[in-house]
Symmetry: C2
Subunit: 278 residues, 2 copies
């Protein structure tokens, strides 16, 4: 008898279930943009929050995220959720999908890989300058033309993406308002960016800007290099811009972005309050 009831309920449920529709909690578009500077098509994921009537005309900050294929879903989920509960403002997430990350996300040409071996996959390293040109001269104007963007921009990346974020901060501090570097690969190119930091941090024009950087419990010199970098930040820049370094003891290189991106968003918006006058 019990099985008969279960069977009846089961058929009842099946019979009345409607055809599945796509879950539309968020607007996630895929754009294919031709970059003349890079001479290639670039795939871009764009997440736009749903705006209610009080927000509909608000210009939105934009978070530019490297390795979009990897972290776009989590960043979009965080931003939707935290925005819904009035912890951060609504913002657009732009996930830049990797084509050749070893080329695009490295600031100098170096054939030496993570385990100190000459690596033929590293032949094309050193494309960071041109890749940042693409973001600044093609992608940002595209976003500003097609979306209601505010001038406030965040740059976020992990690993080689984190290296790119710090290289950008040192070389083009005006390009973004906030920099988030999760486990930057400072080991790359005989610590090229660490040496760059020694030159650039002292007079870096970062007034009112913010910087979050973190390491996990990783192989190699990620943490040691970041501690060296942290010393430089504390020595040269403590008073000129807000920064936060976090170490994740229980996270490895690939799990660390989950808590780190959350903590980074909370750090960036720790003093933010929703506008209740509207």
């Amino acid at each position: 008898m019990k099985y008969l009831i279960v069977l009846l309920i089961f058929f009842a449920a099946r019979a009345t279930a409607q055809i599945p529709k796509l879950y539309n909690h968020t607007s996630n578009d895929v754009h294919l943009i031709h970059s003349r500077l890079l001479n290639q098509d670039r795939r871009i994921y764009i997440h736009v929050p749903k705006l209610d009537s009080t927000d509909i005309n608000t210009a939105l900050p934009v978070l530019y995220l490297l390795d979009g294929e990897n972290h776009f879903h989590i960043l979009s989920a965080y931003i939707d959720y935290l925005r819904h509960w009035h912890v951060i403002p609504p913002m657009i997430v732009v996930g830049i999908v990797s084509v050749d990350r070893v080329k695009d996300l490295t600031p100098t040409n170096s054939l030496t890989n993570f385990v100190s071996k000459v690596d033929s996959n590293y032949k094309a390293t050193g494309g960071n300058e041109q890749f940042l040109n693409f973001i600044q001269q093609e992608l940002m104007p595209y976003m500003d033309a097609n979306y209601r963007t505010s001038p406030f921009k965040i740059f976020a990346g992990h690993s080689f993406g984190g290296l790119t974020v710090i290289n950008c901060m040192l070389m083009r501090p005006d390009m973004f308002d906030t920099y988030i570097a999760i486990s930057p690969s400072l080991w790359f190119g005989n610590k090229y960016v660490l040496r760059l930091a020694e030159q650039k941090l002292l007079n870096l024009p970062m007034k009112d800007k913010k910087f979050f950087y973190s390491a996990g419990n990783e192989d190699g010199t990620f943490r040691d290099d970041l501690l060296d970098f942290d010393k430089l930040v504390k020595k040269h820049s403590s008073k000129t811009f807000e920064h936060k370094y976090t170490y994740y003891q229980y996270e490895d290189h690939m799990t660390e972005p989950i808590p780190a991106y959350y903590d980074a968003l909370r750090f960036v918006y720790k003093n933010w309050k929703p506008d209740t006058t509207k």
Copy 2:
């Protein structure tokens, strides 16, 4: 001249951008299921991971998530990401969208609200028994009939959802293999579930099962009640099932689920290893 170049690039970018397509990183279906037991239609979000050729015939664990409208996006993102990096197995997420959560997610009738006032919105409280019947007798058979499910089931909820998870664990320990209760509202009904725990925890048949529970830095007695509950767990059940209690000092009631659901997944699968024999 500089502006002219920017303008040209900008038009070039606009001209070559293709029509946006929907970002299809995940499969997220919305099902509308008629429940005969509840006499209402229930909206269910279902996230199914993309399976590669080695996984395509794998039966998948199912995580049943309360307050689906609130936490489904984040849980889906975590599970996709962690699964991609071989930290947890692929699994299905079933987000049960709330209709009347004050009714469905409370185990007894009590008119007293969070601030100890009689509250007419609490008239319908006490629907937990029937709501769990719906999950067990209608929703689970629906999932098992329409998806390639394994018997392994996780039950996860926050606030009244966390209360429901603990009530279910105490009253129906066989229904799920793992229970996750984020900031359970143990204050409800003159601490009804806390008193139930005193009776039930001693001989609770939870062998090989897991239980994660947590509190944030919240108003009211969330943390104190959960510490009382934790004492009962440690006194009666420490050796019979794996459990973990975590306190989130820097999170409030609504932000806590972000780190807590992540930590819960890591706890549940801390000893899991991918099958490399396939």
